[in-house]
């Protein structure tokens, strides 16, 4: 499938997850997207899956503690200054579950976009704002690059007999990681300029024509969103 209809399907699934108020619908989308993400190589998908599912779990666990809705109390907690009572109601749990599922759906849709789509072809398909789309593509590639750089710093430290432990130890690597990214960005900008980026009169390599499946997928994406609004 071409990347544009594939991206449209992912965007429509995210939209449906945000619009729908039935938990089973959102849960089905999460399951489908999760299975889709499993198609990506293990090493690349780990960060996306752990980040998305970890965030969703945090929302599920923390949201009932800070919200104050519902009457069916299932756990009575202490009173905390500013926050108030840490009671948990069944209504809060249900709301937290759907918010967590929505977050998971959007996160997994982005993960599938970053991991599985041919972002280059998506860029080629963009008829406007090509610089912005290119910047978005480079930013998407930044995630695995940062992950690799972080692993490289940790490895070099371990190679010197210095252990990096805990969140604090890793947080100390943020500044060198940021500086390294800026340096890399400068090198890349230099290489791009040397290859003519930004010159007037650029052309575009021809893209393969859309297939019937691509058209059906695009129509399905539109129908999904309309259906979610209507239902």
């Amino acid at each position: 499938m071409s990347p544009v209809p594939a991206a449209a399907i992912l965007a429509s699934l995210s939209a449906v997850a945000l619009i729908a108020d039935r938990a089973w619908v959102v849960a089905s989308i999460v399951c489908a997207l999760f299975l889709l993400c499993l198609k990506a190589p293990r090493g690349r998908r780990r960060l996306y899956l752990v980040g998305t599912l970890g965030s969703a779990l945090s929302v599920f666990l923390l949201s009932p503690l800070v919200s104050h809705t519902g009457t069916h109390v299932i756990w009575e907690g202490p009173k905390i200054p500013v926050v108030g009572y840490l009671d948990v109601t069944s209504e809060e749990l249900a709301a937290a579950a759907i918010q967590a599922l929505r977050l998971a759906a959007v996160g997994l849709a982005f993960a599938a976009y970053a991991l599985l789509l041919d972002l280059d072809r998506l860029l080629q398909s963009a008829g406007f704002a090509r610089r912005s789309v290119l910047a978005a593509g480079l930013a998407t590639r930044l995630v695995p690059t940062l992950e690799r750089d972080a692993a490289g710093f940790v490895e070099a430290l371990r190679g010197r007999g210095v252990q990096v432990e805990g969140a604090r130890g890793r947080a100390r690597l943020l500044s060198p990681l940021l500086a390294g990214s800026l340096e890399r960005a400068l090198n890349l900008a230099e290489a791009m300029e040397a290859r003519g980026f930004g010159r007037a009169g650029r052309t575009r390599a021809p893209s393969p024509p859309w297939t019937r499946l691509d058209r059906i997928a695009l129509a399905a994406a539109a129908l999904l969103v309309v259906g979610a609004i209507w239902l």
């Binding site: 190589p41 590639r141 007999g161 390294g180 090198n187 003519g196 052309t203 390599a205």
Partner: protein, 446 residues
């Protein structure tokens, strides 16, 4: 008409105390292959960047003199406008890759210079074939090895069919065979080629003319034969010393027995065995992608082998092939002191040992690439390890500094076991007592 003409060029980077290039003049004729040699920081890269128009347009700074490329004065034409007439292949392929798929990467330059759409894919695939990378066309760039990436970058510049090709240490990450292939391809293109290299034998075998740059001045501009009589001895080509494979007699400090390793189910090392003894320096050589770095990391305890056993005695330290990994702290002295538990005296001594005395208060990112390499070495040597493992310690290092490094490692060899992973066979011959060669799908036993 000359492809490139540089007249009395003096250039100073913003904030620099001295010029990177001083009164440099040269003329490059069509089809000429020119080797650009000289120490790290001498101005070789700046000269190439001036020829690409990147100096002064991209870097800023004070520019005096004149550079004309294919009739275009670089003061009036930006680098993007010169692209196509001139193409540059930089040292680190990872910093040049824009796209996720190989064929799109090669097509990028063609799109930028306005190549008619119906010619873009044929020229892309022809360039990939020329660079020996046709089979990579559909691959994701992040899955390629350093050698494969550099071939893709070469294809990207070949596709532009430039009249002037600038190669800034393009083979520093490649094994000798891969490096020769890349240079042969570039030199057979028919374009004028300027190639800067820290393994001088490679360009000297192929060039018509030699430029030797030192302290920003072009000190030698001569034909190859004349230059061979005038170049400093460290830059002259010589055959590597053949290393014996017989192990020494010292105390065994590290033993790898039948170790194997796989990344994501992809085997990279199969049944390799190496023993390191106190008092000996072992050179580990072999083609790109054969598992040398993996073996070194297993020996250093940074990776667990999937099978086989590892025994290590004493403290083991590993120097990564990327000096950019040794830029964690804000001061050079603090960086060097990390592995010494913050001991500033030991850090200063280690820095002095690699010629970085006086750099203590500088920010590690403010030093040159050659100085970064020395800082990385000091950051590891400060620990005074029993087992020292150096992964490509001569990448981007100039010949005089390589000689100093070899002497330094030889001086301390008695105190420890040293493993040097390298593609530089001349350096291996200079530094090592014995050699271990790792070949694809073969078992290394030494």
């Amino acid at each position: 008409m000359a492809v490139a003409e540089v007249s009395r060029l003096t250039f100073r980077y913003p904030g620099a105390t001295r010029p990177a290039l001083l009164d440099a003049s040269l003329r490059v004729e069509p089809g000429e292959v020119v080797a650009v040699l000289g120490p790290s920081g001498s101005g070789k890269s700046t000269l190439l960047r001036a020829l690409a128009g990147l100096v002064p347009h991209f870097h800023g700074g004070r520019f005096e003199g004149r550079v004309v490329i294919a009739g275009k004065d670089t003061r009036r034409f930006r680098p993007a406008d010169l692209a196509g007439d001139v193409a540059t292949l930089f040292q680190d392929p990872e910093d040049q890759i824009v796209f996720g798929r190989v064929e799109n990467e090669v097509a990028f330059g063609l799109e930028n210079v306005g190549t008619p759409p119906d010619q873009i894919w044929p020229r892309t695939h022809a360039a990939l074939a020329e660079a020996g990378a046709e089979r990579l066309a559909e691959r994701r760039t992040e899955t390629l090895s350093a050698g494969e990436l550099q071939r893709v970058c070469l294809a990207s510049v070949l596709a532009l069919e430039p009249t002037l090709l600038l190669l800034d240490e393009p083979t520093s990450q490649l094994d000798p065979q891969g490096a020769e292939q890349i240079l042969d391809l570039a030199c057979e293109l028919g374009a004028a080629v300027l190639v800067s290299e820290q393994r001088p034998a490679l360009p000297l075998e192929r060039c018509d003319r030699v430029l030797f740059v030192a302290d920003g001045r072009i000190e030698i501009d001569a034909t190859r034969d004349e230059a061979l009589d005038r170049l400093p001895p460290e830059y002259l080509p010589r055959e590597p010393r053949l290393l014996p494979e017989t192990p020494g007699e010292g105390e065994v400090l590290c033993r790898l027995d039948d170790v194997s390793f796989a990344y994501e189910w992809q085997p990279v090392l199969e049944s390799a065995s190496v023993t390191l003894r106190r008092g000996e320096v072992v050179a580990l050589t072999g083609p790109n992608g054969v598992g040398k770095t993996t073996l070194a990391k297993i020996a250093a305890g940074l990776l667990e082998p999937s099978s086989g056993s590892v025994e290590t005695g004493g403290r083991c330290c590993y120097l990564s092939q990327d000096p950019g990994r040794y830029l964690v702290k804000d001061r050079v002295e603090d960086e060097a002191a990390l592995a010494a538990g913050g001991d500033k005296d030991r850090a200063r001594a280690a820095l002095a040992g690699v010629g970085l005395a006086g750099f203590e208060d500088r920010h590690p990112r403010d030093v040159s690439s050659g100085e970064r390499e020395r800082l990385a070495l000091a950051s590891v040597l400060v620990a005074d390890p029993d087992v020292l493992i150096l992964d490509e310690p001569t990448r981007g290092v100039d010949p005089p500094r390589k000689a100093e490094l070899a002497a330094q490692l030889r001086r301390d060899a008695k105190r420890r076991a040293t493993l040097v992973v390298t593609h530089d066979l001349v350096f291996a011959g200079d530094v090592a007592d014995r050699g271990v060669t790792l070949n694809a799908r073969e078992r290394a036993h030494a």
